[in-house]
């Protein structure tokens, strides 16, 4: 992608225009705009980052620093479904590692990898803030609490066959 091809839609640009006004300075809109870009383009390529720097009147380095600091921002594409398994204390004490291993086996990949068909990426994440429902798996940012090997297998099957779409819209 060259910077000419990475472009927000006009609706997005209008939305960003409004968003910028909510803050004392346009730099504050950087994170929301990065979320939007990731939603629209899948990940944050260097060209996307340059485009955003220009859009908000920032230096590329200011954008790079933010993109690389926060774990939710991705500089590489990932699978259509991002399965994020929390393995922190609450979930660990309730079988998260066993669950994660099971899911890896089901998908036939290792932690952090993407399936060959580009459908699933599995990752271990830090405490999701839902320990009451441990273990917790986020699928494209939708929480699945009290997850079990069975419930996850069922979900993966559904996603694979397109019977269930997971998404919760809204980036900002």
């Amino acid at each position: 992608m060259s910077s000419e091809t990475v472009r927000f839609s006009d609706e997005r640009l209008a939305e960003i225009d409004k968003l910028v006004k909510r803050y004392p300075s346009a730099q504050s809109a950087l994170m929301p705009v990065l979320h939007m870009a990731q939603e629209d383009f899948g990940y944050l390529s260097m060209d996307t980052q340059k485009m955003i720097a220009e859009l908000l009147g920032l230096r590329l380095m200011q954008v790079r620093e933010v993109v690389t600091f926060y774990t939710m921002f991705r500089e590489q594409p990932c699978g259509s479904y991002l399965l994020e398994v929390c393995t922190n204390a609450g979930c660990m004490l309730n079988g998260a590692y066993e669950l994660a291993e099971h899911m890896c086996n089901t998908l036939g990949i290792k932690m952090g990898e993407t399936t060959e068909d580009g459908l699933f990426t599995i990752a271990e994440v830090e405490c999701a803030g839902a320990c009451g429902g441990a273990p917790v798996v986020q699928v494209n940012n939708v929480y699945h609490e009290h997850a079990t090997p069975e419930s996850m297998d069922a979900l993966i099957t559904k996603l694979r066959t397109g019977q269930e779409a997971v998404s919760e819209g809204g980036a900002a």
Binding site: S25, E65, V66, N88, E126, C127, C131, G133, N141, G170
Partner: protein, 425 residues
């Protein structure tokens, strides 16, 4: 006033939590939301509100337990600069999941609390900084805020008064340290969330160098009840210096994990046995982490500790965010510590030498120890490395990172030694 019967419990933040669809403005209003707001906007002034909050004894629910009224009174007035109110909804401390419930079930409670706090502090732009993963909660909040704008509860001339306030939800993007208030401010300014050293304190120079108040969701959600019923009313709940109710997020080896709002002073044992249905295995917990993973561990010895800032401190830990992680006899404490060390090594913002290098070092040693490849020296090194991180850094993350390691070494040295012996065996 500490009732021991769960059904008798007075609830403040969770008062409306079980009402279906209370996230909708119409439903919330049927159940008292914004009822008292006109009175506050028309009849109260800053000093009165701050006085009521001081009288209430409310202490910050985000972790540090700093008296909220006092914090508000530090904000300089008439500086010629705007004052900002930031709600800390980053909820990243492992074990904590209380703010999420307030936001997704009763967002109008938080919004009302923020309008009142904003009015008291003469704030015209307020922000809710919510952790990036809480997309659903952000969407619920945004919908609620939209309704509130439409009903003139937010925006210009709220309810016909001359007070105006905008409220914006701002999503984080996966960084625990952004829960620290100055990191939160940096993040909200569109930068990496690296904490600032203090002074200057945010109350004087915070968001874009303007006076800024950062409060936790639960803290702000408590404000409407305090103003409605009076500070005295709130002060009468719990015990002196530890007033009101507190939501405890209980997780780990209990039968009914979840959020429970109980009056301060309720005992840990009552919380675990009567509310949470007791332990999964055995009768006495092996370890209780009382206030989120960054707080030092308590053991069976303190099973009875009253849930107050002061009592838990006396027992050697902190009430923190009220995230109680319970471990029964089946817990592998070396593995748990290793996992928590990994968390801090992942989340350190990286600026302070002891934290950047120390967290990674602890993590790598713990991996080795857990894998049975530890050496006798490791115990000393772990101790030294953890000890000299704590309290020598810009923010308290490093101290939090040291806590599990130091607790493990203090209470369960034999568990560590057993692991070390594995290799030689």
């Amino acid at each position: 006033m500490i009732p021991s019967d769960p059904k008798q419990v007075k609830q403040i933040c969770f008062d409306r939590i079980n009402i279906p669809n209370v996230h909708k403005l119409s439903v919330a209003r049927e159940h008292g939301a914004y009822e008292f707001l006109p009175t506050v906007l028309n009849e109260f002034d800053s000093d009165k509100i701050i006085d009521e909050v001081k009288t209430s004894g409310l202490r910050g629910r985000g972790g540090a337990g700093f008296p909220t009224g006092l914090k508000w009174s530090f904000v300089p007035r008439n500086t010629g600069k705007p004052t900002y109110l930031l709600c800390n909804a980053d909820e990243g401390e492992p074990g904590t999941f209380k703010d999420r419930d307030i936001m997704r079930f009763d967002p109008h409670l938080l919004i009302e609390g923020m309008i009142m706090a904003g009015f008291a502090l003469n704030v015209h732009d307020a922000y809710i900084y919510i952790r990036g993963e809480f997309l659903h909660e952000a969407n619920v909040l945004n919908a609620a805020i939209e309704e509130a704008y439409a009903a003139n509860l937010l925006g210009e001339n709220i309810l016909g008064t001359n007070y105006s306030m905008n409220l914006t939800v701002h999503r984080g993007a996966g960084a625990y340290v952004c829960g620290e208030e100055t990191a939160l401010i940096e993040s909200l300014e569109g930068k990496p969330g690296r904490p600032r050293f203090k002074p200057p304190f945010p109350a004087v120079e915070g968001f874009y160098a303007c006076p800024t108040v950062v409060n936790n969701v639960e803290t702000l959600a408590t404000v409407p009840a305090i103003l409605k019923h009076g500070g005295e009313w709130h002060a009468a709940i719990g015990i002196p210096n530890n007033t009101g109710c507190k939501i405890f997020s209980v997780s780990g080896h209990v039968n009914k994990p979840g959020n429970y709002e109980v009056p301060m002073g309720t005992s840990m044992k009552v919380l675990i046995e009567e509310y949470c249905g007791g332990l999964q295995h055995g009768t006495v917990p092996k370890v209780i982490i009382p206030g989120g993973s960054s707080t030092p561990w308590l053991t069976a010895e303190h099973y009875d500790v009253p849930l107050t800032y002061d009592d838990i401190m006396k027992a050697g830990s902190f009430l923190g965010s009220g995230a109680v992680i319970v471990m029964d006899e089946t817990a592998d404490l070396v593995a748990l510590t290793r996992r928590l060390s990994h968390f801090y090594a992942h989340e350190s913002c990286g600026q302070c030498t002891p934290c950047r290098e120390g967290t990674g070092w602890l993590d790598r040693i713990m991996v080795r120890v857990q894998g049975g490849a530890g050496t006798a020296d490791d115990v000393d090194v772990l101790h030294d490395a953890a000890q000299h991180m704590a309290g020598r850094t810009i923010c308290a993350l490093a101290e939090g990172a040291a806590a599990p390691v130091l607790s493990l070494l203090k209470f369960f040295p034999e568990d560590v030694k057993a692991r070390l012996a594995e290799k030689s065996a």
